[in-house]
Symmetry: D2
Subunit: 252 residues, 4 copies
């Protein structure tokens, strides 16, 4: 039998962290060696012999957590937000001094969402038209969603590189807002509906045909396969990786 990887979860009492604890415990090839909450000391990571640290904490503590891990030769998988250019720069310097250690920082661990955005961007240069509809529960405060903005940016860059012009639009009479918002030339529409969780459609249209990529997140459980993929792969990807895309085999 292959040896189990020793994994620690930071933020284990949060909603995402609690899911991660369950997911690691349920995986035959992984062993949960530590599950730390807000006031637990990072020193216990060393005592527990953690090889991989999963950080699902808060912006205030994530940098210190990751630096501690890297300084002790542990790889890190990070789902916490708050990593601006300054923090990233400092982390890259630290990693340069620890050449065998890997850190993955990903804004989105839902595999289906990452795949949908990557494929939609790639396909978008073959179609005249592209628009995005994102649908979320009505307690969300921002519109459009961060994922929709990133997807639109990916699409816009791919189309620009291929020299594809903006999609056609003959609208001359519009009620304010009907045509959505404009993110780098891509129209994005935000639906807010009780009962929903997090959903996104990318619609591509050409003469006589439509291609649609739809992703539905029904549950936080949807992030766990991505977290586990990160845990299993981070040790083979030294240095800093941003986003799950490079961990996926998407070559066609």
């Amino acid at each position: 039998m292959t040896e189990q990887l020793a994994v620690a979860v930071l933020g284990a009492n949060g909603r995402m962290g609690a899911e991660a604890v369950k997911a690691v415990e349920a995986a035959a090839d992984l062993k949960l060696v530590a599950a730390l909450g807000r006031n637990d000391s990072l020193d216990s990571l060393v005592e527990a012999g953690a090889r991989i640290v999963v950080d699902l904490t808060v912006p205030e503590s994530t940098e210190a957590n990751v630096r501690f891990a890297v300084e002790h030769g542990m790889h890190a998988v990070v789902g916490t937000t708050g990593w601006d250019q300054e923090r990233l720069g400092r982390l890259e310097e630290l990693l340069a001094a620890q050449p065998g250690t890997g850190v993955l920082i990903a804004p989105n661990f839902a595999l289906g969402s990452v795949l949908a955005s990557a494929f939609a961007a790639k396909a978008s240069k073959y179609f005249e038209s592209v628009e995005i509809i994102e649908l979320h529960h009505p307690d969300k405060v921002d519109a459009p969603s961060g994922t929709a903005v990133r997807t639109a940016q990916l699409i816009s860059a791919e189309r620009a590189a291929a020299g594809v012009p903006a999609g056609p639009d003959a609208t001359t009479s519009e009620m304010a807002g009907a045509r959505g918002c404009d993110v780098d030339g891509v129209r994005v529409h935000s639906v807010r509906l009780r009962g929903l969780v997090a959903h996104q459609e990318v619609l591509l249209g050409g003469p006589g045909e439509q291609l649609t990529f739809r992703h539905d997140s029904f549950d936080r459980a949807s992030f766990m396969p991505g977290v586990l993929l990160g845990v299993r792969t981070v040790g083979m990807k030294p240095g800093l990786t941003l986003g799950l895309d490079d961990y996926l085999d998407l070559g066609l």
Copy 2:
């Protein structure tokens, strides 16, 4: 065998009119007795013995056409736009003097579209949230579509009558247009995509569930079952009828 109904089509050279000519000819219970173009005399309707006149012409001539029909005791099924309150008032006066004659003026003959709007309005009072997405080809000049506006108005009226408050929406940070336009308190989103024809979704959401009504018009042929239903029924509905709803058996 039942006697065939004698039907005349006005605007027979237009795109809708040409479809209507084909549809009447293909119907075993109907007989096409006249198919008139722009310069043909209305007198030929009398000579041909038309019982039902289908008007698919232009706003400039539809009133004269319908008045001629009614004055000669023919029923009329009208898909032409341009019937404002003044014209409708004059027509009702005329019909009052012709008690057995019926006129149907409908903005939309696609049965599926009429049914979807009626059902969605009826259902909307049982859900916290409601939004509309309409999707059309990119040569359309207005956003949102007339059908979406009418659907939103029906929904808004039904919810108001039942005392249902506006849907929840916690958005505090919005890129201009992301949340669509507001039609009587209902958010409407307009997508424009090459390859599409005319499509609409009404999304209703409550705790843990979503109910969606979607209608797709792929082709002008979709209007013909509604036109034929009008032709077969108008003789039994004296007076003026607006919209196909009253011709449908929707009682549940």
Copy 3:
């Protein structure tokens, strides 16, 4: 202020029952006066002054529970299965002797699902083609779902009454099962997919158009608005009612 209705929940420790307890407690116009588990005595319903009893127990005990309620002049809302013709017959006899008391027995309390089935059946007679796709989690043991079978039966009856023939189908070469199963002349397709809960689409097709009714149950919470509607209405509907349809205002 209107007086609160005194409600008791039976099966309060089950998954549905626990949801019902929460829903009743959260409703301003209702007051939870008893929440009984498997071994609790029904006598406490009397002591607690329950006016409405919600039965979410098991087939073995539901009949005795409902009879006890009716005999003590309490109305009952029942989501438990196992009510065959014999049990229903006995219950109707009992209700005949208690003319002011109402009982609602419903196989499905998701309002959206009930509405979708009712509307789809009503609309189906205006379309040549109709098929059903139901999609569920892969732990479900029966295919198709009971809701899909009931929807197909409603549709089949509505089309038969209107004299609509079976949908066209030119298939001459079929891999076994490709065209789904046949429920009273309606094709039904069952998808089983990890991540799903309970979903159903009714697809209606005519020349150049499609009308789709889709219902998504993401969560057991979706049954609670229907349960509460039952609780609030059952006192005004003496006798036995089967299915939530008669409690809904669907007249168009």
Copy 4:
């Protein structure tokens, strides 16, 4: 200005051929130099100076057409069916003697359809469950569609290579056909509905999430962007190419 490519269309009177004639004429970088019907001589291709031959004829004549083109140093883009292993073998021999000449034979020129199948296969190994729903007009004689079978085979091969087991399915009680047909371990469901053209959904499901790829062909026009991509690219792809995939930039 770049010189225009000289293009000939064979089968120019058929439905696909007529669309291709229009598409070539409308493209600024292409010049239609010949449009041949059933009884026209292939010699006119030489006289017209064709560089690329588009074959949209019938199985009986496609092999002779393509061999004539290759023997005269013209590249060929072929949408006609009927190319079995024997014909393909003979063509490869011929091409070996014409090292600069390219032939593309593709069963499907709808870019969106080709992209959807390729992406769905690639993504399928990250999900527990996968099923396919294909939807067509009711005059289609085979179920499932050839495209659905090919998509299922691609998916099955990709999952097998990655060691992904068959999707979970707890069904123990099934009405015959409810769970669709089995193509290499992937369940495929075939819907037949008046009004539809050609549509396909690949549904992937994992814990708490779903990823859906949907392609809609509304019109034969949807094949033309793929035909034009073939015409523009075939000269740079010597030898025999099967399927449009290798002409697309899908690397991620």
